[in-house]
Subunit: 675 residues, 3 copies
């Protein structure tokens, strides 16, 4: 499936009428229809209501909800309700809850609380999904399945331990292979029987919660196993649904750069990617954009669903500012610009109780339609009703690919040393943001692309590619040899797929490609920097600074200052075949990143566009036209030189584009360029 | 009981001679008598000595202590020793200790360590109290019972879980009612059997330790239950005492704004309130005063006992500064000014061992009477011996009532969103402190006063009255209709008694009263503020800022700045009947609070008095005279315009009041005004 | 044994070839020989490999390693491998792992993971040591036994509880004695049966993790017991070794000022002290020096082994900077200057996996010998090969003794109050550093020296000597009476050996000696100071400030400022017999410490020498000559007035000493002065 599977631009969101008396539902339908909504996501947390006991199911409330929505012409995204266990199931089968990192087995409470390896949970979770599919799968307006909800969190119970051992046995075959892969001769960890292996937590091999296990190979395998175990839960439910409903698309809502799950593996099981975007009041615009691009990248550029965003405030952050007037619209169009083909909210009616009751919703506690949120929602709904079909199914044509990989995420953050300041997403963001500042499109891509697949990019970025899995180095070598430009950094090329160091000097398999040997990785104390002379620009390096030796590469930036590695290479470029490989030896500050990216843009003639800092330009391409989304993400009026687009019509905007465009706070225009 | 039950002004404190050889007791009696002490609080932590085993009791040491004190003419406050379990009881009956928030069941150690629901603990605790009453209750100089000590802390064990279920069944009758009250359809929490309910802790529905449970209705019921379970322990002991001693007053020592216990409920069971005041070196004077006023308010203004204060240092704070010369006296008179009719210390002799050994005491490790503490205690004792009878039983006549309510405390702090900076006591303190700066008397009052009871106040303050329990709104409406002035704020009028939102727009039941609808509650990031134009004064709002619409009210302060709610109402006043209702939309800074309070003082002609910042004036009224306590709480000399009192005699001071009074550091005068 | 037991200056370190294929060993031997290494420390974590099951041992790999090293002429330090349990032992006997402070019993993982009281662990640990001794003890090049590794950490399991009770019964005989010693009448802690006593942790009497238990006497006894229990593990292994190997020296590697173990007790069981020195990039030079001096002091000045240091980076600190060029050499010579007779590294080859893989090693991941580390190691090896024999067995002749005592360490840090900023090592460091700034040699000494032993020092320093154990006060009195100079401070002379206060006024047994009574100990809030007028110098006191009364002493510094103790004594000196006793009443800042130390140096004519701040001069004495180590520990070039040594030859350096010596960054010279 490469097109959005929906017949219309879905505009709606999570709706939990089971928390309310039925009298209120009619009012809801009226308000939601009035704001141009056409979709509701239902049944997300209703297991306890759907199944009052082990033996009985009760679909009467859900039937009524479906009927109400159907009568109001709403499409339905139907969740399977398995993300929170019913209390009776926990009481009867204590094994269904999780054991946490501290070794404590949970009693009833919370959500996302099921042990993924519990046979009881797996049986009853899938059974419920099947029952729902049998009953509702045939309905025309059930347009999508939403399995569980925001999967995440690990379990360290004995069922998981047993399943982990099975998983390991399948992976390694022999304990010798496992001992070798995990480097178990370290600290006397040699295993002689599979039963000796226990999950790495606070009671065993965990060194602390956020960082580190004694054997990082074990730690990464544990994460792989848990990600797969949770994915198996999804696959169980999917199989149950497919018994009754062969073709309604299936998704689960993801969470951007969430660490626990290898979303590239997960996306393979989904018909369409969906995700929940919850920027805080101070999240950089580039970070929001990057997360969208990562979600789009999970299925190779296919449009995705914005399954959840808040109409205004969240409740669970420290400081939950309201979205400013226009900001919700701007964020919605930013999502669309980056590949979203739906706009959905959490939630349509604000709860009266429960920990999320101060999370905003379309219909607020005021219980009427005279709120700012309603007005802004109605205005956006009106726009989407008009132009929605033209927005759908556009593609971003990026010439820059940025590798994002969960094994690398885990490997980098399991590294003990050289610096606690080196975290994965922060590093990826620095590279993304530098291109974002130039409005140059970037795809987030997995590690395992072939040279042919890489060839669609002029530039491939691989910051902190600490783990080089089989085939990766070959593909990159071939890509560069054929003319590609590759950029990698400090902490790349260090480990193999088991998280053991590749001997022979950093950056290991990229040493010949980059024409350089990184002998040392100095760690800079917090808030200190080393001078980096990058052309005419004095920039700063922080966190880590490699001490490197040229082996064919050319130095394009050198360390300054008086320390022992002053005047040695900080950033280099090496010609390999008909391509080039850059190696960045220190964490560059913004100025340094800009010099680097300017050079890449110039060299590779990458498309870019100058805007004020708060304004972004993003382009989606359609068979017959392109849409340029020019969005002011900030709360000041901004003026943009739009002479490049002068005279083109606007899909959203006040007539044809002028040479100069003034954008109100959170204002935007969508330019339609005919091909 | 509305008068202090003691025949003399008690001056003494905690005394633990059982930790010392008897040889030292005679020396103690001599020193303590010399410093004019007349009371000792004994037997606070002696259970293990009183009852060496399940079958045996040994009162010989306590007999000797009582005899020693009696011979030295000391009154005795007799504690029941149940605040710390003996080790043998724990070893024999492990159920008597608590299970903590993390789900860990304690072994022997610490204090305040008994599970309130343990039948074994309840049996033996009450039994000990009865035995003490039987043996000592008839003694004339046993003037007060001190049950247990500083009750607090919760237990999450299975006995408590079972008792909680019984409590819930009594409260709700049916699970339907409970499910409705707790909003259990949220996150699939519907209960079908009482046994499915478990205490909300880290293993169940707790989200984190300080904040939040998934279902705040459950969380608040849990706190109500635990507060009552501990109170039941007190009632058990009280009943046991009353079997033998029908009339000696009973108290337990409280802890000011301590969160765990609903002290208004507790006070009903006490004959006199007592509490332990432990300001740190940097606690604001107004905060100390407010805690006294809260303790006085627990029984509607009846005088209280200052059961514990330290003569100089504490040991358990981070930085335990000594009290400066005169500071202990100033703090003592501040307590008296606010309603204390005793001055008692922890403790009379400093321990040689145990975690409190660096806590100061009247008799220090130096073991003689040539210390500064002794000199200052003797001087104070001499004053109290002289004027004590005249100090006792005065009443504060406040025309301002400030609502303090534990359900609201819990509800506000269980709120997830809009801001983590919004904490209950901090909010109450802001309102208290603003009146304190004007030396205007304030009563701390409960939520459940009738309109008639409220009518004794010209102004009723209800900051962050987030939970409006049944009857509260009606009483306040009637109070205002009849001419009262009511002040409420952001985060008021939101939840019902189950912590579910009252629909229809904030501030819910106060919307008509305040003539305003608060549509949005913006949260301001840490250390940011929004401009509030309050008359001619530019003030700042922080933490939260409501976006409101007038529905009859008048704007008296509006937001400034350039944000979207600039020029909308920040503070309003509405006329309702013959009264007025103020609504404050943002957390005001000191300047803003002062403008508001000045207005209230002017409008309502409230008594006030100008002093330097560190000086307070507080007045107690007696049948025939009033005493004005003018206290310098600071360490600089201060000059006060006392022309209002010129010529009046001083009970403490150098002759009649002059037009201007100079107060040395920590100096004070007590002015006697004849009626 | 008072001489270093080795025939040559050992230069080597930890070597773990069992983690590598044998093919690589030959390369290792070549590189290590080339850098002049002559020693390898092996078998530190190989238990799982040596003993694959309860019934079988396999020494084949270790045989091969020993053979390889022997053939390459390496001396061997042979570890016993008992510092990390094999997984099979944990699976079969879960009791062998520890129960932590939180009460959680560990599963398999980590290292230093054995319960010291487990009979199973004790049996198999000692058995392994015996087997190793039987097999390798006779080898000539096995020059030292290295039992376990970096002992530390406590266990709170039931086996430990039972052993603790036995230990207590042996110590106290009766529960009465224990109750008295522990002051158990506090908070109802009286024990009536030994079985009622449980280890003080989070489930019992622990108040928090870092600080405090309810009964500090129990807390200190628990620490004494755990230190002894771990020491018993060492003794078990030692006994097993001695069955087969009567004379090879035995050590275990210590960790400087590590809190858990009473190293003075441990040193008695060792033939030679060894330790692991891991300064961070920002550790003060004086602190590194002090730790060396403490390690030297453990056996009364006998040279020690520098068992581990890193050639460049560590991995486990937050920011693991590389050692700058020359810095590893400077740190090595600093160790030698302070008494080290070996230079050993962790480790010789950098691991490919495990949590320490980013810890630097002599042979790095680059896997060749063209690294900076190799070059610097080779240069140092070359120097040591040349001058090593002349460096060995020198003695430091200090005239200043500084008391360091683990009971005091524990007592001070168990103190609740007066200030959390008062930590033991920090206090000791302040006194050490002040002498270090003058290049005056200091011995770290235990508390229990006799007056005769003390008499070898002109000055004895006893900062925060809070616990005065039996005999200590007498020895110090006699030492001073005979002409010694004694310096003590705030928080000294307070507790007896059970941590109960010595009555009669601080500083207790030193009150007559110091001629002063410290009535109060004020605690100063964080970042505040009190003025101290010390002669002409205005200095500052922080953390605590005593309010004292002279009883014969003379004030040499008084408090300034306007607070109540202004103009009272801050620092005093008292003449006692023919000696003097100083009492320092507040934590002095650097300027204040310098005034004090200048006075002591002048009065006692202590040897001192002026250098720039980063340069130290330390002298070792040999029968026929002295070596003066003049080391620049900083990264700037420094100039030193060396006229005192002008003309003397240099053992390391460019010819005879000039009047002025310029030291490059991390540069050093070693001056040889003939006697």
């Amino acid at each position: 499936m490469t097109q959005t599977p929906f017949k219309q631009f879905l505009f709606g969101g999570d709706y939990n009428p089971e928390q309310w008396p039925k009298e209120i539902w009619a009012e809801d339908m009226q308000i939601l229809t009035d704001v141009h909504m056409n979709e509701a996501t239902i049944n997300v947390f209703s297991w306890a209501q759907l199944q009052p006991s082990e033996e009985t199911y009760d679909f009467s409330t859900l039937d009524a909800i479906v009927e109400t929505l159907t009568r109001a012409n709403f499409d339905i995204v139907l969740a399977t309700s398995t993300a929170a266990l019913p209390a009776w199931l926990v009481t009867r089968y204590p094994e269904v809850t999780r054991t946490d990192y501290e070794g404590r087995h949970a009693r009833f409470g919370g959500r996302h609380n099921a042990c993924p390896s519990s046979p009881i949970f797996r049986f009853y979770g899938a059974k419920l999904a099947g029952k729902l599919a049998e009953r509702y799968g045939h309905l025309k307006n059930v347009v999508c399945w939403h399995i569980s909800n925001e999967y995440g969190g690990y379990c360290y119970c004995d069922n998981c331990a047993a399943a982990f051992r099975v998983w390991l046995r399948q992976k390694y075959g022999t304990l010798d292979a496992l001992n070798n892969a995990w480097y178990t001769h370290f600290w006397s960890h040699t295993f002689y029987d599979w039963s000796e292996i226990v999950p790495p937590n606070a009671l065993s091999d965990g060194i602390n919660h956020d960082h580190n296990v004694v054997l990082s190979g074990m730690g990464i395998d544990w994460r792989r196993f848990q990600s797969e175990a949770l994915l198996q839960n999804l696959k169980d439910e999917k199989a149950a649904i497919r018994q009754y409903d062969p073709d309604t698309p299936i998704t689960t809502n993801m969470m951007g750069t969430f660490k626990d799950l290898d979303y590239f593996q997960w996306a393979k099981e989904l018909d369409i990617v969906s995700w929940d975007s919850y920027p805080a009041y101070n999240t950089p615009h580039s970070e929001v954009a990057m997360r969208h691009d990562l979600m789009r990248g999970l299925k190779g550029g296919q449009p995705f669903m914005l399954m959840e965003q808040t109409p205004s405030q969240q409740n669970w952050q420290a400081y939950n500012a309201t979205k400013r007037p226009g900001q919700m619209r701007a964020l919605s169009f930013q999502a669309i610009a980056h590949g979203a083909d739906t706009i959905q909210y959490f939630q349509l009616r604000q709860g009266r109780g429960g920990t999320e009751k101060f999370h905003s919703a379309v219909i607020s506690h005021a219980d009427h339609d005279e709120t700012r949120i309603i007005r802004e929602t109605r205005a956006l709904g009106s726009e989407l009703a008009k132009v929605g079909p033209q927005l759908m199914n556009g593609r971003i044509q990026a010439k820059v690919g940025l590798i994002f990989d969960w094994d690398n995420y885990w490997s980098l953050e399991y590294s003990s040393g050289p610096s606690v300041s080196l975290t994965y997403v922060d590093q990826i963001k620095r590279y993304y943001a530098a291109f974002y500042r130039q409005n140059t499109a970037v795809d987030l891509i997995p590690t395992n692309l072939s040279a042919d697949q890489l060839a669609r990019y002029d530039v491939v970025l691989a910051p902190v590619l600490i783990m080089v899995k089989p085939g990766v180095s070959d593909a990159i070598h071939q890509y560069v040899a054929n003319g590609g430009t590759f950029v990698t950094t400090y902490m790349s090329g260090i480990n193999d797929e088991h998280d053991n160091v590749i001997m022979g000097g950093y950056p290991g398999p990229f040493r010949d490609l980059c024409g350089l040997w990184a002998e040392e990785i100095d760690a800079l104390p917090l808030h200190t920097a080393v001078l980096v002379q990058f052309g005419d620009t004095e920039t700063g390096g922080s966190i880590v600074a490699n001490v490197s030796h040229l082996e064919g590469a050319e130095t394009i930036a050198a360390y300054g200052g008086a320390d022992y590695y002053a005047n040695t290479p900080a950033v280099t470029v090496n010609t390999y075949g008909t391509g080039q490989a850059y190696y960045v030896g220190a964490v560059l500050d913004t100025a340094g990143m800009d010099v680097l990216v300017d050079r890449l843009i110039q060299d590779k003639h990458l498309d870019h566009f100058t805007t004020p800092a708060d304004v972004e330009l993003t382009t989606r391409h359609y068979p017959d036209y392109a849409l340029h989304f020019l969005i002011n993400n900030g709360n000041q009026t901004e003026t943009v030189d739009t002479s490049r687009f002068a005279g083109m019509p606007t899909l959203i905007g006040d007539g044809p584009v002028q040479a100069t465009t003034e954008l109100a706070p959170y204002g935007l225009i969508v330019i339609q360029e005919t091909k």
